[in-house]
Amino acid sequence: MIRTRPREQGEQEVQAPPKNLTRRVLTSRQTRLGLIMLLTMIVFAIVGPFLAPHSPTAVMAKPYAPPGDGLLLGADSLGRDIVSRILSGGANLTWMAIAATALGVALGTTIGLVAAFAGGIVDMLLMRVVDVLLTFPTIIMAILFISMVGPSRWILVVLVAIGLTPGMARVMRGSARPVMRREHVMWARTVGLSSRHILMREVLPSVTSPLMVEIGLRLMWSVVGLASLSFLGFGVQPPASDWGLMVSENKDGLAIQPLAVFIPAVCVALFTIGGNLFAEGAARVIGRTEGTRS
């Protein structure tokens, strides 16, 4: 029988997963694919405007002109270069989606954690407010506000963030409540650590995996939400270029010039699917290697 000597005491962990969180997350094939898609789309959206051969607003040819004449993919409903419009159409969407997600997640997480920590009447009040907010469909609410105060990009960001908040608060409260009953949180209360310390240092790190998934999901929701608003005409306003807006501008010419609708739609899809794959894969990896408390 072949046996080897035991290694040093206490160092017998069988195949410990890589310590570094990012490295561990990247061991999964799904997260790598998702991350590549997501980063490609973000880089595409940021660098795109600088690579555009023409101005996205300049009229270059006849409406729905076929490819040719220096226009690689042809022209859109107003005769503008499709390539240039696609290249510069992601920048607004990207920064607005990221800003809306950051704001919504921060707001929702704060509400959720405070509700879970305080309990009692504070919890009840916050959750009832959240319930009321949940009953407003995000898009309709955004349309209502935009119709009243006029389209502004920052108002759009805030509206989408508010739309994300209630769901986020519910999820975070749900995942923080069992953590509140954990011994290390109770210990922190017995020694009288400040609520801020308990929430930031004891509770928040223990709910990172649902938080990560939620960030991923909410980012995609805000992309879809913003693109839909643009499509409906309440988001980015013409003549600025935007993927959602392009779909709506060119939908009448779908039979003649399908690329003007398809490519922006595919861009939005790649963005959201990539982000989703990454968030879900990361959550699964974190859950597998850390969620088990052994």
């Binding site: 029988m1 046996r3 080897t4 000597r5 035991p6 005491q9 206490g10 017998q12 962990e13 069988v14 954990r182 011994e183 290390h184 109770m186 210990w187 922190a188 209360r189 017995t190 020694v191 009288g192 650590l193 310390h197 240092r201 004891e202 790190p205 223990s206 990172t208 850390e290 408390r293 052994s294």
Partner: protein
């Protein structure tokens, strides 16, 4: 012919590491074998392998399990299932999850049997009577959640017994039960097996339980059988150093003895060894122990032990005599007590769980609070620290009034009273290193940062014997015992006057429990007062100065540990003491009555 014969049973993980190595034993009809070992020893894997089953990631790679003349491991899938149905009963650890909550008791009892429900009912009623449960139709119509834990476990046992198998495998069936229920269940298991002529394998981590139920006892460690023999051979005259060490670490209700922990840490499942698996932690190890795997040899006492130095160990072991510990008598009487509790009442919603609790804790004293589950002991400890919301009563600390609620307590009080939780896996923040965990209260109470804090943290960790090289690890990388020590170190870093220990040893193996108990004893010698909550009278005997016995939220008896446990006055304490199982040890008879 033997009813059960296991030869060379070997189980390996997918990556090839062996977790159960060459286990062999034989049982006659009606015999019960106790299989004992600490966590990670492979005892549960053996239990499952007896059913021809291995958990995901593990495979039975060799050996024979012959039950009633059938080799289970040689059967195909469907044949194996049929064979299990006829030959083997299994009683799992947790009856609450083993029974289907959506099914009536009667249905669950009959579904595993051959034949229809009607013809099996008389047999079921007979077995239910044998396990001490009602057998009328009203009982058979109940659902599992309408029964208590003890009743559920009896139903699970009845399920296993009723089909009349050749072998029953019990996987820690009494771990979640109170001592009084456990005593009754164990007595019943022994009777059922001998009456029905069934062989049984009884897996447990508790030597006393195995001693109470087993005709034979097998000790496992790191996947190997280290010692096997009859109950008396193994428990009274243990031959293997590991069995001896394990017995030394078990506390006793009869005497206040020092507990001897086993040095080092038990190996992870699947660890590889060149020689004897226990050599690294063995007091008798010599060079040849590390060269080759020792064979099971017949010990002079009659059993078989896997040790090359059996003779030597046997001779030297008898020389070890443990002196009963004397109580430290130097307490200053008349000084204000560190904590005094008067008329404490507590309730959950409208249900009152504590009634008029009163007791005192003198400086440097350890007060043991003992009670079964549901006695309110954990609620009481939460009341002391202020975490419980609805409570009334008067508490004083050092003669000054102590507010009941945490938010009314001053920072100084929070620093002087520290709480150590039962569950070592939850009491440390999983995302903070050991050193950071210990430094958090230092910064909070004393404003220490950086180097000063690290130095103090190091001091606290060294006091609980956690080497500083572990300081930058995360709790998940430590064993249960180590985590519990870190939790104690974190409490010590606050420089408390009173330590409240809530069942701190109940999640730990006996050898680890011994080391934690000895650590707490050394802290007590440094002048720390303690409230030690436990369900285990033996632990109280080994560490407590005074004891308060709780039953259903009321104090039924309190006083000096020696007098209460030697001559209990209340019927409840007497019953508890009688039901607490004890490992019979030779030195308990020879040594004098404790003073």
């Amino acid at each position: 012919m033997n009813a059960v014969e296991v030869t060379g049973l070997t189980v390996a993980l997918d990556d090839g590491s062996v977790i159960v190595d060459d286990v062999s034993f034989a049982l006659e009809s009606g015999q019960v074998m106790g299989l004992v070992g600490e966590s990670g020893s492979g005892k549960s894997t053996v239990a499952l392998a007896l059913l021809g089953f291995a958990k995901r990631g593990a495979n039975i790679v060799g050996g024979k399990v012959v039950v009633g003349g059938v080799d289970l491991l040689a059967l195909g899938r469907n044949e194996l299932r049929e064979a299990r149905k006829k030959l083997i009963g299994f009683v799992p650890q947790d009856p609450a999850t083993a029974l289907n909550p959506a099914m009536r008791i009667g249905t669950q009892l009959t579904e595993g049997m051959l034949g229809g429900r009607k013809e099996n009912l008389p047999r079921i009623r007979e077995v239910l009577k044998a396990v001490g449960l009602p057998s009328d139709d009203a009982f058979l119509r109940r659902h599992p959640q309408e029964l208590s834990g003890g009743q559920q476990q009896r139903v699970a046992i009845a399920m296993a017994v009723s089909k009349g198998p050749k072998l029953i495998v019990f996987d820690e069936p009494t771990t979640g039960l109170d001592v009084s229920t456990q005593a009754r269940v164990l007595e019943m298991v022994g009777r059922l097996c001998s009456d029905n002529g069934m062989a049984a394998v009884f897996v447990s981590h508790d030597l006393a339980v195995v001693g109470a139920v087993g005709d034979l006892v097998t000790v496992m460690y790191a996947g190997q059988v280290l010692e096997t023999g009859t109950r008396d051979e193994v428990l009274l005259t243990a031959a293997h150093p590991y069995s001896i060490a394990l017995l030394e670490s078990v506390p006793s209700t009869r005497q206040r003895l020092p507990l001897v922990p086993i040095p080092g840490r038990s190996p992870a499942a699947g660890a590889k060894f060149e020689g004897c698996v226990f050599a690294d932690r063995c007091a008798y190890a010599e060079d040849r122990c590390r060269e080759a795997v020792p064979a099971l040899v017949t010990a002079p006492t009659g059993g078989a032990a896997r040790c090359v130095r059996v003779e030597h160990v046997r001779q030297n072991q008898t020389c070890q005599v443990k002196e009963p510990l004397r109580r430290i008598e130097s307490r200053e009487e008349g000084r204000a007590s560190v904590l005094s509790v008067r008329n404490l009442n507590a309730s959950y919603d409208r249900t009152q769980v504590l009634f008029d609790l009163s007791f005192d804790v003198a400086p440097g004293e350890c007060v043991g609070i003992v009670g079964e589950s549901g006695s309110g002991k954990t609620t009481m400890s939460r009341c002391l620290i202020g975490l419980h919301e609805s409570q009334t009563g008067v508490m004083e600390m050092d003669g000054k009034p102590l507010p009941l609620r945490l938010r009314d307590r001053s920072k100084a009080i929070k620093q002087q009273m520290q709480y150590v939780f039962q569950n070592p896996y939850g009491s440390l923040n999983p995302r903070e290193t050991v050193a950071t965990s210990v430094m958090v209260p230092l910064k909070h109470f004393y404003g220490d940062r950086g180097k000063a804090a690290r130095a103090k943290a190091q001091e606290a960790l060294e006091r609980v014997e956690i080497p500083w090289r572990l300081a930058d690890r995360y709790p998940a990388e430590l064993s249960g015992g180590q985590r519990q020590r870190v939790a104690i170190a974190r409490a010590l870093a606050c420089d408390p006057k009173l330590l409240i220990c809530d069942e701190v040893t109940s999640g730990l193996d006996v050898s680890v429990q011994a080391s934690v108990v000895e650590l707490l004893r050394s802290l007590q010698n440094d002048g720390l007062s303690m409230v030690f909550i436990t369900h285990d009278l033996a632990v109280v005997r080994s560490i407590g100065d005074r004891v308060v016995v709780l039953s259903q939220g009321r104090v039924v008896e309190s006083g000096e540990v020696e007098s209460v446990l030697s001559a209990p006055e209340h019927a409840y304490t007497r019953g508890l003491l009688a039901d607490t199982l004890e490992v019979d040890r030779p030195d308990a008879e020879t040594s004098e009555v404790p003073g």
